[in-house]
Symmetry: C2
Subunit: 203 residues, 2 copies
């Protein structure tokens, strides 16, 4: 149950066996079926969650009922509504499972105590936040300055097998901030272009 978490810790910091052992005490395991909620709009986000297995999405629903996916979370990723978690305000987001999930929940109290008992983990979470911030800044820049086609191409390139296999297209569209129709057209464009270059090469 904790294999992946321990591995992720080790990538960034070094823990003794006792510390590893101890750290596990602060987490609550939880399984989620496909389509079940981890967090619903209006609830306070009580946990930051580590994904041992499965896949979730983090999204809002606007006035017109449209879903806007802000983030996905695969195995080895953390997911939470940080704002609600930190302030205690009700969340405006939803988190639900796209696949069957095995999760490790960390409450605020548990986090605080864990960081006190294992201060090295402060560093782990700081690095995590840094990387997350860098990635989010990059996504922001690309959403402001690039076309939908460019963003889609780069997204797919970053994960050519897993993304299309595990995430339906209309959710990728939502993640990119475009409509399913537009994504469909973009894909056609791209296959046409790809064929064009293939033809040229074969001439």
């Amino acid at each position: 149950m904790f294999e992946l978490l321990s591995q992720k810790f080790e990538e960034k910091i070094q823990l003794t066996e006792e510390e590893k052992e101890l750290s596990r005490k602060f987490f609550t395991p939880k399984k989620l079926r496909r389509r079940q909620y981890l967090l619903q709009e209006g609830d306070v986000c009580k946990y930051v969650t580590f994904v041992e297995k499965g896949l979730l999405r983090y999204y809002t629903v606007d006035e017109r009922g449209q879903e806007h996916i802000t983030q996905f979370a695969f195995e080895g990723w953390w997911i939470s509504d940080l704002l609600s978690f930190l302030t205690g305000e009700p969340s405006t987001y939803n988190i639900d499972a796209l696949e069957h999930c095995e999760l490790l929940l960390l409450s605020k109290a548990a986090e605080d105590e864990m960081l006190e008992r294992i201060p090295k983990l402060e560093r782990y979470f700081r690095i995590l936040l840094q990387n997350n911030l860098i990635a989010t800044q990059k996504r922001l820049a690309s959403s402001l300055n690039q076309t939908a086609e460019e963003r889609y191409s780069e997204l797919i390139q970053s994960c050519p097998e897993t993304l299309p296999q595990r995430i339906p297209q209309h959710m990728l569209a939502s993640f990119l901030g475009i409509t399913p129709e537009t994504l469909s057209r973009i894909r056609r464009q791209l296959t046409l272009k790809a064929q064009g270059t293939r033809d040229k090469v074969q001439e």
Copy 2:
């Protein structure tokens, strides 16, 4: 020179007089004139910088020579190219001064030693990163899901006096990811709307 920095520390953590005193040793003061660079594309970002006075912008220049402003940094804010700072890779960003600035530079070595000597500051920087991440996620969501007019209105509302006074419109446009022409038209639209509602009220 360190007034604002100490104040910002105090907002999030409690330091003794000695710790405050000690912390200052790790910073290098620097002044910058208007238009001077703090970081240029191609250089490695050697510092995270605290702004005691003044205003800077953080931006890239694309292939066509267009500037894209990712961030501004007012007094009391931190600014850096985190990716370059952490990895040592050359930066693809520029940072320059929009106004005369008084800055406090913190190198990687100084940061590491400071955090070792004053571990409480780990928490300060973690909170800083958290807040920054929350804000960036929010901006990302708004850039994906809102119109330029909505984004501009909210931006101005967040700082109705300082923003228009201290930042020229074409830079606000760049920050919003739109052209100066579009921003000009949006502003006209908004004043027309405002007049419309005023007229109604007066009827």
